[in-house]
């Protein structure tokens, strides 16, 4: 998952500096392994196949959104509207699936996400609105539309077996939703690290002005990252709607926070220009392990929120700290 090792000559450097560099390289892997080991020891049900596949299932949507969100952050943006898009796409897909057909429902949900994503991109680039504010405003617009679409109700469609098959078909013991997550993560990894598009994403976020003078169409790149993010958020919404056969406009309200925590805990810089998909996946799984651990050990879920908030702060702090050593 790491970028190729950098060849450097290493004379004696002070310990703090070496520690800084090791932390910034290995990043999330160490805390992830520690959390995994601790849970395996103190909470025996943790290692049960049912628990692990359950984690994978629940995280499928989150990881899909986080993979796309990684592109947005690396390109120097941020997308706060993913939770709202998730809710709208879930509601739209379920309703269309009920009224037309399952495939139509899936496509309609994805189309909604793509459209909002492109709108986000245009707002941020063409109208030069700060992405934090632009996508925050879009959050209200999109959740408002979702509430209108659902008339404020929980949409339920328990008889839609076709639609449910999309996310909940078991293949080799894992659901189709989890398989799609794995496939999308691998595709995102390839897209980011092996293609010219990926290069341009890093260049755009790393130094926008240099990228532009270097001939990169930075606005097009940024719109594309928002389009990816919107579509991925919709994909997550469709998957979860398919999994539980219900949808609610407000169902994505914690998604934005969870996804951004996963990305940032993984080591993608909020300043842009840095990050990898592998780290994002690990970051999301780390957050999931913490949550799972709280459940298994029977702690109050409210402490879980506090813990996640503290972890997010720590991650941002470590990022700032490790930057001092480069």
């Amino acid at each position: 998952m790491s970028q190729e090792a950098v060849e450097t000559v290493q004379p004696a450097v002070p310990l703090s500096q070496r520690a800084g560099r090791i932390v910034s390289r290995a990043g999330i892997l160490i805390p992830f392994l520690i959390a995994f080991a601790i849970l395996a020891i103190i909470a025996p049900p943790f290692l049960k196949t049912a628990n692990l596949t359950n984690i994978l299932d629940q995280q499928a949507g989150i990881i899909i959104v986080a993979c796309a969100g990684t592109f947005v952050l690396i390109a120097g943006g941020i997308d706060l509207s993913i939770g709202a898009i998730y809710g709208l796409a879930a509601a739209v897909s379920l309703q269309v699936a009920t009224q037309v057909s399952a495939p139509a429902g899936i496509l309609a949900g994805l189309a909604v996400g793509l459209a909002v994503g492109i709108a986000n991109g245009v707002i941020v680039t063409r109208f030069r609105i700060n992405p934090l504010i632009g996508t925050l405003a879009m959050t209200f617009v999109v959740s408002g539309i979702a509430a209108i679409v659902t008339k404020g109700n929980l949409v339920v469609a328990l008889d839609q077996a076709d639609f449910q098959a999309f996310a909940a078909t078991k293949i080799l013991g894992i659901t189709s939703g989890a398989w799609m997550m794995i496939a999308i993560a691998i595709l995102a990894m390839i897209l980011l690290s092996r293609t010219t598009f990926g290069r341009y994403v890093y260049a755009t976020g790393g130094n926008t002005q240099a990228a532009r003078l270097g001939g990169v169409r930075v606005n097009a790149i940024r719109v594309a990252t928002f389009a990816l993010s919107g579509t991925a958020a919709a994909m997550a919404g469709v998957l979860d709607a398919s999994r539980v056969l219900s949808a609610q406009a407000s169902s994505g309200q914690f998604l934005t926070f969870t996804v951004l925590t996963g990305i940032i805990v993984g080591g993608t810089s909020i300043l842009g220009g840095e990050g990898t998909i592998g780290r994002t996946v690990l970051g999301c799984l780390f957050v999931a392990l913490i949550a799972n651990g709280f459940n298994l050990l029977g702690f109050d879920p409210f402490y879980q929120q506090v813990t996640l908030g503290v972890i997010l702060l720590l991650a941002v702090g470590v990022d700032a700290w490790s930057r001092r050593f480069e």
Partner: protein
């Protein structure tokens, strides 16, 4: 020559060492700075002079060695701690709050207060006394952001004095000042010394060092070459000390382009922000110098030709065809630009060298949108070799020295197979040895048939490299000089608009 520590020693460093990543910035550096002297630190970029100044001022800690003040060993964890020992740094980039007044900036964080309210009258009085003592001419109510850079620097010096600093480290203080402002700065430094303050002067400008300082320490590759009285030195001995060898001829020999060499690029009636109705042509193999004062519109012209800024009138023809006025279309037409600020406009410092060099020509290394890394690596290495650059293509661009970073931009330009190179201050902020390398690169590229527009603030550099010189003033081309007319007097005269040789 050894400077022995005595009562008159304000500060001594012993066996100082400092590394940044893989770079050994300082190694076993020992220097004694006499009280009430101006002590200069000279050396090439990367020799460690700024690092030494910053460690003394507590900007970052040393890895090895001691700072000794009046017989006691101290170590600073922050500039604030250094300040408690009377040491302050005036950095190259001023660090003031632009929207506050001069007086507010000077006393920022140490305002005279009563019951939580700032006592404005006391603040003003103290400021006036301080300014009078220093012999400056700054009004307490001036908004700092509107002051010229030289005066902002003076505000920084006042801030140091207000906190009773008596050892002031000036890091490249004249780098961004005009000639007149430099004069003023020199008076300030002499004034500080005459009031018994100690000044450590980090400077690139040897003339300034010879004129101002009492003692000079020459650094090379992080080590002290020698410390001695300035009276024993000349510009030549300092350069020899810095380079470890005497400098040869500064510029490679000129190769004249063929008289029938074709025109590669023609700019016709171009107007853009800061540029008015400029027409010019460049022929293959020609280096054309673009001279003028700072703000005359040279960078603006280069950027407009390249398409980085929109032009309001005129056109740019490359081999007879109009180009699109966008960086991407200029690149396609074989026009490359090396921007003035490689950090802001050129490089992505936190990405590998390879990606930085291939950025503009990634299209050539792709198949179905995938980067062909083997081909990319081979060609990036080849391009870097042409400019005598590094071969560590996977290291981060930010890990290189200024001169080597500049070579990345040359290599990037080469990869597009350019016909025209717009080089905006390609030797800005790089050291003497690396400058010579860049000159070689420019001359070799011209010899291989490139048309080069060379913007430089150093008239000497233009005279040494260019076949022909264009001079800009107030956004317009005001003179074209070639052959025997290409003299420093003519260029400077045209730049100032005096057109006589008496211009200063």
């Amino acid at each position: 020559m050894a400077t022995e520590a005595s009562d008159a020693t304000r500060l001594e460093v012993r066996g100082l060492g400092k590394s940044f990543g893989a770079t050994r910035a300082l190694d076993e550096v020992s220097v004694a700075v006499g009280a009430g002297t101006v002590h200069a630190l000279v050396g090439e970029n990367g020799a460690g002079k700024s690092t030494l100044g910053k460690i003394i001022a507590g900007v970052f800690p040393q890895d090895q060695g001691d700072l000794v003040l009046r017989g006691t060993t101290v170590s600073f964890r922050s500039p604030r701690e250094a300040l408690t020992q009377g040491i302050a740094l005036v950095a190259q980039e001023v660090a003031l709050v632009p929207r506050l007044t001069a007086a507010e900036n000077v006393f920022l964080g140490a305002e005279p207060r009563r019951a939580g309210f700032i006592e404005r009258r006391t603040l003003r009085d103290r400021f006036d006394r301080l300014v009078a003592d220093a012999g400056f001419d700054i009004k307490p109510g001036s908004i700092v952001g509107r002051l010229p850079l030289a005066q902002q620097q003076q505000v920084e010096i006042l801030r140091a004095l207000a906190r009773d600093a008596d050892l002031i480290v000036l890091d490249e203080p004249s780098a961004s000042l005009s000639a007149k402002e430099v004069e003023r700065l020199h008076e300030v430094v002499r004034g500080l010394r005459s009031r018994g303050h100690t000044v450590i002067l980090v400077s690139h400008f040897l003339g300034e060092v010879l004129e101002l300082s009492d003692v000079v320490t020459v650094l090379r590759d992080g080590r002290v070459v020698r410390t001695g009285p300035i009276a024993d030195e000349t510009e030549a001995t300092l350069v020899t000390g810095m380079l470890g060898r005497p400098v040869g001829r500064a510029y490679p020999p000129k190769q004249m382009p063929l008289p029938e060499a074709p025109v590669v690029i023609a700019v016709e009636g171009l107007s853009a922000p800061g540029v008015t109705d400029v027409s010019l042509t460049l022929r293959a193999g020609e280096i054309v110098g673009l001279a003028g004062l700072v703000g005359a519109g040279r960078s603006e012209l280069a950027r407009a030709i390249y398409g980085a800024t929109a032009m309001s009138a005129g056109q740019v023809l490359v081999r007879g065809a109009s180009i699109g006025g966008q960086p991407a279309s200029s690149i396609k037409a074989g026009v490359a630009m090396i921007p003035e600020s490689r950090k802001d406009d050129g490089l992505i410092l936190r990405r590998p060298i390879r990606e930085n060099v291939s950025l503009t020509s990634l299209g050539r290394f792709q198949r179905f949108g995938f980067v062909r890394r083997g081909a990319e690596r081979t060609e990036v290495r080849a391009a870097l070799e042409q400019v005598d650059g590094t071969d560590l293509v996977d290291a981060l661009a930010g890990s290189l020295s200024g001169g080597n970073q500049q070579k990345l931009l040359f290599a990037r330009s080469l990869l597009i197979g350019p016909g025209v190179l717009l080089a905006d201050e390609p030797t800005r902020g790089i050291d003497v040895g690396a400058k010579r390398d860049i000159y070689e690169v420019l001359v070799n590229l011209a010899a291989s048939g490139l048309a080069i527009l060379l913007i430089s603030n150093e008239v000497e550099e233009i005279l040494g490299l260019a076949h022909r010189v264009l001079v800009m003033r107030y956004g317009r081309l005001v003179a074209e000089l070639a052959g025997p007319d290409m003299t420093e007097e003519a260029i400077v005269g045209a730049a100032f608009g005096t057109t006589t040789s008496s211009a200063a």
